[in-house]
């Protein structure tokens, strides 16, 4: 078993635990590289199908390429796709810095979707290596009734034993690729031939390393125009993955505030 096999087997284990131990779950599909790998892993876990809905909490501000990707693969992969809208910007905490405030719409949209369907588990494609607060996550991460994350009181989780009993009305976030790195995602995408959105590949000396909303995501300088070149670039670069995500950099704790409030 090589490194990617190990990552894959571990993720499949997590998927099966989530499906087996929770009553009503959904997978959050943000259309990006991580959640595409996640859907692929879920289909491995469940022998070709996704036995629960794929939820796209849509800010309405994604790139056209992302919407095209969603519509095409939603069908081709036979997903039970639920597209859920987000509330307008006025409905969001005005004390947040602009980009974070814009991103917080997604948190609100997520809460609305949770209330609408009554999911007790949401599968999300976050990774520890992305960002410092995500590094502190559990695989099965309990959320409060308001969707909030209490980083000071996380249940112990060891030997792949997860806490799968959310309090009444609350839900769990399940993170099946928490242990993957950005390079792992690309190496696996290449090995499995998983489709990607072309925005990740260099055009005119720039490419996106992380895809979010159009207005708060910027491309990074790069000449990498295929996955091998991306992997070679990651080997060298010291630019953090989310450098192009404006919301991470507005204030020291903007991202942490978002996450504690329920952001991914």
């Amino acid at each position: 078993m090589d490194h990617l096999d190990q990552l894959e087997a571990q993720s499949i284990y997590i998927f099966r635990e989530a499906f087996g131990r929770l009553k009503k779950i959904a997978l959050l599909w943000s259309l990006g590289k991580d959640s595409n790998v996640m859907i692929w892993l879920a289909r491995k876990a469940f022998f070709g199908r996704l036995p629960f809905p794929a939820l796209h909490v849509d800010t309405g501000k994604k790139f056209p390429e992302m919407y095209r990707f969603r519509d095409h693969y939603g069908k081709e992969w036979d997903l039970d796709l639920r597209v859920e809208p987000c509330p307008p910007i006025d409905a969001v905490d005005p004390t947040l810095p602009p980009a974070a405030r814009s991103a917080a719409r997604k948190t609100e949209g997520l809460k609305m979707a949770l209330a609408k369907y009554g999911f007790d588990g949401l599968i999300a494609g976050i990774r520890r290596d992305e960002e410092a607060t995500r590094a502190k996550e559990r695989v099965f991460s309990p959320r409060g009734l308001e969707g909030n994350w209490d980083v000071r009181d996380q249940p112990p989780e060891f030997w792949d034993h997860f806490n799968a009993s959310p309090p009444q009305g609350a839900h769990l976030r399940i993170h099946p690729i928490l242990h993957w790195t950005e390079a792992d995602i690309w190496a696996y995408t290449k090995r499995e031939n998983i489709p990607i959105i072309p925005l990740y590949l260099s055009q005119n000396g720039k490419r996106y390393r992380s895809l979010g909303d159009q207005d708060i995501t910027n491309p990074v300088n790069s000449t990498a125009s295929n996955i091998d070149e991306i992997l070679a670039e990651l080997e060298q670069t010291k630019v953090p993955e989310r450098a192009g995500r404006a919301l991470d950099h507005e204030t020291e704790d903007a991202f942490e505030r978002l996450r504690v409030a329920g952001y991914l």
Partner: protein, 638 residues
Amino acid sequence: MNMIVTPASPATPNGTTRPQVRIVIVGHVDHGKSTLVGRLLHETGSLPDGKLEMLKAVSARRGMPFEWSFLLDALQTERDQGITIDTTQIRFRTNSRDIVLIDAPGHAEFLRNMITGASQADGAVLIIDALEGVRDQTRRHGYLLHLLGVKQVAVVVNKMDRVDFSADRFKAISDEISAHLNGLGVTPTVIIPISARDGDGVAEYTIRIGWYKGPTVVEALDALEPARPLEALPLRLPVQAIYKFDDRRIVAGRIESGSLIAGDEIVIMPAGKIARIKTVESWPVTPVAGRQGAGRSVGITLDRELFIERGDIVAHAGSAPRETRRLRARIFWLHEKPLAKGDQLLVRCGPKESRATVVAIEKAVDPGELSSVENKAIGRNHVGEIDISLSSPIATDPYTENPRTGRLVIEVSGRIAGGGLVLSVEAGQRAVPVDIVPVESALRPDERSARYRHNGAVVWLTGLPASGKSTLAKALERRLFTNGGSPILLDGDTLRAGLNSDLGFSAADRSENIRRLAEVATHLARNGHIAIVAAVSPAREDRATARRIADTAFREIHVATPAEVCEERDPKGHYKKARAGALASFTGIGNDYETPEAAELVIDTSTRTVAAAADEIEQMLKTTGVLFDEVVDLAANI
């Protein structure tokens, strides 16, 4: 539209094939864990651009000297309090391998986070402050590493600058920690004097520790072994789920040890059913050829239809795990409420979940002091050895034989409250699997409950002779039947006339009598009937056994009619005979009836009519999910 990116060139070196070693850093709070991690990242060139500058700016803004630990303590709350509150994983590279560093908090309150981190580690770095020396938390962490099975421990003695790089001070601490770890059966791979803040001994030797001849921290990490391969051990495939998305019936799970291939003869434990692996299924290509080894999440199909449940273990015949309802475990306890004898728990052993009772606390130790505390309970953050009895049989191995299947966690109120290692297994009667293939019913439980409008159940009426059990049981039987249900009366005396006619009235025979009653009743309940058992069943332990056997189907009703009323009734003349000395071991006169403590319902028939008592039972069966609510409505509509 084609968005598939075809690989344009051969694989690039992307680091994914280098050996990966996971290392946890533990030790007493403020002994310098985060500082060491920050320094290690810096020394190995693993910091992203701009991180160092950002940290300097953060420190300056707070009017504080530069602090390496800010690197990890990325959360606002942590920076404010100056403590690390959760496990952080950081990656860096040494010459030969990728290291995943798990930074575990030292604060006693956050021991659960330390365990969360350390349980995933191949090796550990235990850090000790040269000035403060070995502290409670140092010892506690050393003990927990031992308990978690982390065998490779590198010790670093930090803050050597605070003791003038004294070789004597270093030796004193080395001796103390070596003695402690050796006492636990852990031999430190190395003990290194360092100053994490200044960098001495981390990646480089400095003149200040010129007297030290061993490896640096980076060299020591480079020498730790990756996780031991588990393929050499016997096959253990704990069943996570059975999937039937199409015409295949796939048994899914992760191979914890050993390996399997299509064609293997396997045994499903704990039931001991035998089958052969037909295929190993996968996606997008299926079936998979070739042997599948430990660590793989797989799906298999079998050559025959067997009833298999989540938590069963697939093994090879001849090297199967033991089946048991009783085991001893060494555990660490994280819950606020101490663990005590008699506590009811939920135990998880892989995907297998079983209710359990703590039969005995054999040892309770505060690993900080390494002193035995009172054997009554295991307090928070303490460790101990316990004897537990399980409500349903599980298949498991002692930890020494299989580290993957020989461990368990304990849940309290849906949250992991402790965990530990299986020390020994009191094997059940079916230690050697036999080729018994129980025939499954042709009907599914939901087909039956749709017809009867109730789920299967064991309604257990206990109470003194002549308390009214049989009368009540018959009234209930009549009522359930009238409503379209399927009740079956199992009267203790009636069964003693046939099935149990070989049994007398000794304590052992009485226990066996109850066990058989419970087994028959449970079989009926599993097949959708409501088995109404009317039996004195005086011993609390025997009733507990019955509850274990019937598990969630069990409903206990204590027919608590006062003893003098029972004796006055005496319909069978038993009391009269017993008073005359003609009936040995008669419950009621001898005062050997043990009153139930947690019956689902208590009924005193001296103050109620039979109909009112039957009403109460019916209500209880509704509120506890046995009878469906519509029963009454249905009856009204007929």
